[in-house]
Amino acid sequence: MSSSRGRPGTLPSEFDPRVLRRHVLRMANRGQSFHVACAFSIIEICSVLYRRFLRYDPNDPAWPDRDYLILSKGHGVMALYACFYEIGWLGEADFENYFKDGTHLRGLCEADVPGCEVTSGSLGHGLPIACGIAFGLKRKGSDRRVYCIVGDGEMNEGPMWEALLFAAHQKLDNLVVIVDANQFQAMGRTEDVLGLEPLPAKFEAFGCRTIECDGHDPVALERAVSSFAAPCGRPGAIVARTLKGQGVSFMAGDNRWHYTKVSDEIYARALAELS
């Protein structure tokens, strides 16, 4: 497991979910951006991966021996930015200038941002690329691992299922797909738009060893990710049951926070809950 393989330097942060959510809110407020709720639902997932599992160099996001975190649902990118800030890959100016002219941080995951790995604002791209990386690493005999966070709405995309077929066929047991099953997509409840359930059974049927857990419970997430440590000849899948907007009472389960901007007043109210 990556934690036993170690990483360069010491753990730069505890990746406290409350702190990460405060970072997201600050960016959203400073930049008058959106997708706050889409980032909130993957905060614990990102926190657990960066704190416990991912092997990376705090001084170099492109460290050649790193594990890969591929954010396939690119609209959750502020959760990654929050982690990058904790690691030190981003600084104050990046947050304060978010969405200002000339910022290198965009509202969706872009491959040219160190640490982001892929461009995934258009859905259905990240998982196929993650499969190629995992396939390549296995061919090289590397023990580096690939984690790919996908959205439940994103599973509407055909290439996601193409990629799962490939992952199972090529026995990519160095790949763990984590579904942010936050129950919503842009314009409504996932089950109302294009029903996906039973998601765990679908991932099993596509050849993944699948675990379902509470995606906001760090202990449950750690247990789930740890269970994929030993190679088993199958890709891993975690259906993380989450809630869009989790962490701030008036955002949780309210799909308006997919696209609503965070005013100064909203920012103050939300921060008060996370202090």
Binding site: T119, I129, E162, L165, F166
Partner: protein
């Protein structure tokens, strides 16, 4: 050309462990040799082209040199967004082979025909586009693409036309396949891919010149100098009249600002903006577009005559 392509693929696999051939369940005998000699370096990813491009991107990210094969109707057309975002934005060294370009799959119908691949790829940043007419050009394009550290697309059209080059080519630049003084005050045909052979034959017969253009993007700077003193330039391609060789030629001519260097009159002979209506041989499919060998010769003859009249 396909035998040469098979040899190039096997040689690449033999010489470079990083070379991995990916196919979306197409290619048949083309891959017999690599499957026999280097089976681990050939991956049939199944009928899943979008995933195939993503997988190629991932492989390139961890140091491999993937080569993706598909019919041009699928690679690049079906997977254009994957090429743009997964390959071009990160400037990944992935080769794309689009086979059966133009109307080669004349019996199979519109789904397998492709007259728009060059037009779709030309506007994308970072990618090179090649359109070889025969083995000599394919070999030059292949080696240039293999050495590139960015994505490259090689368009493969009708592969069994009479050859026009006497031997290997030193590079992928435009090359005269025939010159008989026709470039000085006469007509110069500028062609690519499957149209190079009939245009060369016509040029030989009628005393015109013919230039083959194997590299479409970046478009060769030296081309205007090659037709500079022509009375007329006729651009011929088995591709849509928009976005391909014709567009490349006239865009380049319009942008040139050499004092006193007014470009010669230019004409386009290309696929019509229409889907094929019936099945049949390749020549039959071309006939629907006025590009069958006899039609092409007649059209070129008319355009030359017009040129002579206007020059008289």
């Amino acid at each position: 050309m396909r035998d040469v392509l098979s040899d190039l693929i096997v040689a690449a696999a033999r010489d470079d462990e990083r070379f991995i051939m990916l196919s979306g369940d197409h290619g048949y005998a083309l891959f017999d040799a690599i499957r026999a000699e280097r089976p681990a370096q050939f991956i049939n990813v199944g009928v899943a082209e979008q995933n195939m491009i993503g997988v190629a991107a991932g492989l390139a990210k961890v140091g491999f040199r993937p080569c993706v094969y598909g019919l041009s109707a699928f690679v690049p057309i079906r997977v254009l967004e994957q090429i743009k975002l997964d390959l071009c934005q990160s400037r990944l060294p992935v080769m794309l082979l689009g086979d059966g370009a133009g109307l080669v799959y004349s019996t199979l119908g519109v789904s397998h025909q492709c007259g728009e691949d060059i037009a779709c790829l030309r506007p994308l940043p970072e990618i090179a586009v090649y359109s070889p007419c025969e083995a000599a050009e394919l070999t030059a394009c292949w080696h240039e693409a293999r050495a590139a550290d960015y994505p490259c697309y090689i368009r493969l059209g009708k592969a069994d036309r009479p050859t026009v080059h006497a031997g290997p080519l030193p590079n992928t630049g435009p090359v005269f396949t025939h010159r008989s003084g026709g470039d000085a005050g006469g007509v110069v045909l500028v062609a690519t891919g499957s149209m190079v052979s009939p245009c060369t034959e016509f040029a030989r017969r009628e005393g015109a010149a013919c230039i083959s253009v194997p590299r479409i993007k970046p478009f060769p700077d030296e081309l205007p100098g090659m037709y500079r003193s022509a009375a007329k330039v006729i651009v011929v391609e088995e591709h849509a009249g928009t976005g391909g060789l014709w567009t490349s030629v006239v865009e380049q001519a319009a942008r040139r600002r050499d004092p006193g260097a007014t470009p010669p009159p230019m004409e386009s002979v290309s696929l019509e903006s229409a889907f094929t209506k019936t099945g049949g041989s390749w020549q039959h499919a071309l006939r629907e577009h006025g590009l069958a060998d006899d039609q092409l010769a007649a059209r070129l003859q008319r355009l030359i005559s017009t040129s002579e009249h206007s020059g008289a």
